[in-house]
Symmetry: C3
């Protein structure tokens, strides 16, 4: 039995919206203490790690752990039908082997999608020796990526004592975003050692575009190491983490 209720559909909408461009199918593990999902994109460049404890739901009833294979494209379409005031209910319909997503608002709408077989990979999240991190408004990161997109496919992220930087360089010009200490959009800065690495703009855009511009994203960085993006979902109770491998940077 799986039945989980939330007063706000936004958490699922944001998370699935951020995952859907990276991975097509996901195995969500519904356990008595909450929901977990971990997956890599097909090219093994990006990793998604999602956790939503039972406490993040207003009602949560899962007796036995069960893994639900979900086509994220279909799930995303269904969640896009949510309205801001709707209450969200997820329910497993064992008879039909479907996940029912119900929206309770002006009317009660129930959209259900067939469950699919998804091979569960046993993914070990790598331990990465980040040397710097920053908490930044999502809108700032989105702006820096859109600027960079004008002239390149790749972007360099850097965190140092002065602040956070997004730079790009191409035949058509260059772009630089600087978010310095004291700037409003920089909520925290922590630097053991200057860190910088280059990444695919497309991946970073996909990972950040579902976030509201005023939401906070924590970036962890190390020189030529993968980047880690953490969203504090469901008021910090849940976890949505992305890891993205760096591009080799000729210097």
């Amino acid at each position: 039995m799986v039945s989980a209720k939330m007063s706000d559909p936004k958490v699922w909408k944001t998370c699935v919206g951020a995952m859907v461009n990276l991975i097509e199918e996901a195995a969500f593990k519904f356990a008595p203490d909450g929901v977990r999902m971990k997956a890599m994109d097909p090219s093994h460049v990006a990793l998604v790690d999602f956790e939503l404890p039972a406490a993040a739901f207003s009602e949560y009833a899962v007796k036995q752990p069960v893994t639900l294979g979900i086509n994220l494209t279909e799930m995303d379409k269904i969640l896009s039908r949510a309205k801001a005031d709707d209450e969200l209910v997820l329910e497993l319909d064992e008879k039909t082997n479907r996940l029912a997503v119900a929206f309770r608002g002006a009317s009660t709408r129930r959209l259900s999608l067939p469950l699919i077989d998804v091979r569960e990979a046993e993914l070990q999240e790598p331990k990465i020796p980040f040397t710097a991190s920053a908490e930044i408004l999502a809108g700032i990161i989105q702006d820096g990526l859109k600027d960079a997109e004008l002239i390149s496919d790749n972007v360099r992220f850097e965190i140092n004592e002065e602040g956070f930087f997004i730079t790009a360089e191409g035949d058509r010009g260059s772009t630089e975003l600087k978010l310095g200490k004291g700037d409003k959009g920089l909520l925290k800065l922590s630097v053991k050692e200057r860190a910088r690495a280059m990444f695919s703009i497309k991946y970073l855009t996909d990972m950040t575009k579902a976030a509201g511009s005023a939401e906070v994203i924590k970036i962890s960085l190390g020189t030529n190491l993968p980047i880690q993006l953490d969203y504090p979902i469901a008021a910090g109770v849940g976890k949505l983490r992305f890891l993205l491998a760096p591009r080799v940077e000729a210097e």
Copy 2:
């Protein structure tokens, strides 16, 4: 002589916007007591019935009945140029054989379109033994149709003692909208006998998409009978009615 003035262009904009996807050419009969138009779509699945009495206009001067053949696509483009505060004036220019649509607002704009020959069909509106009806906010119907569209081309409408239902079923899942007694969006429910029938989503979407989400649509239904949609246009003085034949439903 035909000259008709309204303080709000919305009535014509909504009506023509709802018709334009079903029928291409329409014969509007301007008579001393008001305007009438009745037409079937080319595949004879849908019927439009439109009436706007003289009382719906702020000024109305038609001496002799005259039938104006209008290309609805062109008329819709012209009406889309209306601004919310504009006053609308329709005038027959007999010399050029054109209908002039004037918008009086910040400036006076006059867009005129050539009249065309449209064969006037003598359409008898069928007498249908509906067994149930409901008055529903247009936005609710639009939501149910958009949900259903995700997984099918057809949708089932049902009215019973519990309320109003829109359901769809397909390989990619199923959707159900329930609007129960007591729900805000259900303004009236009248059931002699449970009624349900299946319809094309495309047709229903075309018929309802020009309505504002807070406007009320009256649905009349009978099992495997055509559906009737009534819009209370011009504060109930006018009438816009659609009839749509059901799809055969294997049960």
Copy 3:
């Protein structure tokens, strides 16, 4: 050395946005007293004349006159990244031969584009014997052009004692916009002699679409003469002028 600062990026955004559809490359002359640019479109039908005196900038430092060749499409993309509250800084980076456009707001963003070689034409602005002029809200002109676009590629502008008129005629109908004396959108009317001429809708649309609907455009007209459009940019300190040759009109 070139460094110029404005508290509002809108002036450049509007001007470059209005030019970009007419000319692809422009030679901006930065002199100690301000910036100038004059260019014709490739088909020699339209002329752009742009002047922004040093006084229009909050800070302006240009020691020696220098001409910067700029690809307007790239410049427009960069300016489209400006946010309403951003401060704009233009700077010549002589080492890399690039123009840097910096936006200072929530973060500091610096987008730079390579300078190009642009042949500087010595354009003499023609002296045209206009016989009438009008100052009009841009939104009114935009509306008249959009109306006319429904049925034709050409539009007739007329200024006479009664007011300002935009008319079009085609197989699919006709449109007329009348902005009379006393109408709010007509800020000034000056008529020595009735003036009318026909122009390409596409060109006029390109020239006016970057303007906010509440901005004022001054139109100067003479019968079968070019039309002159003046924007009072930077609170009247600057100048953006378009001249467009008339189409031969069979009468």
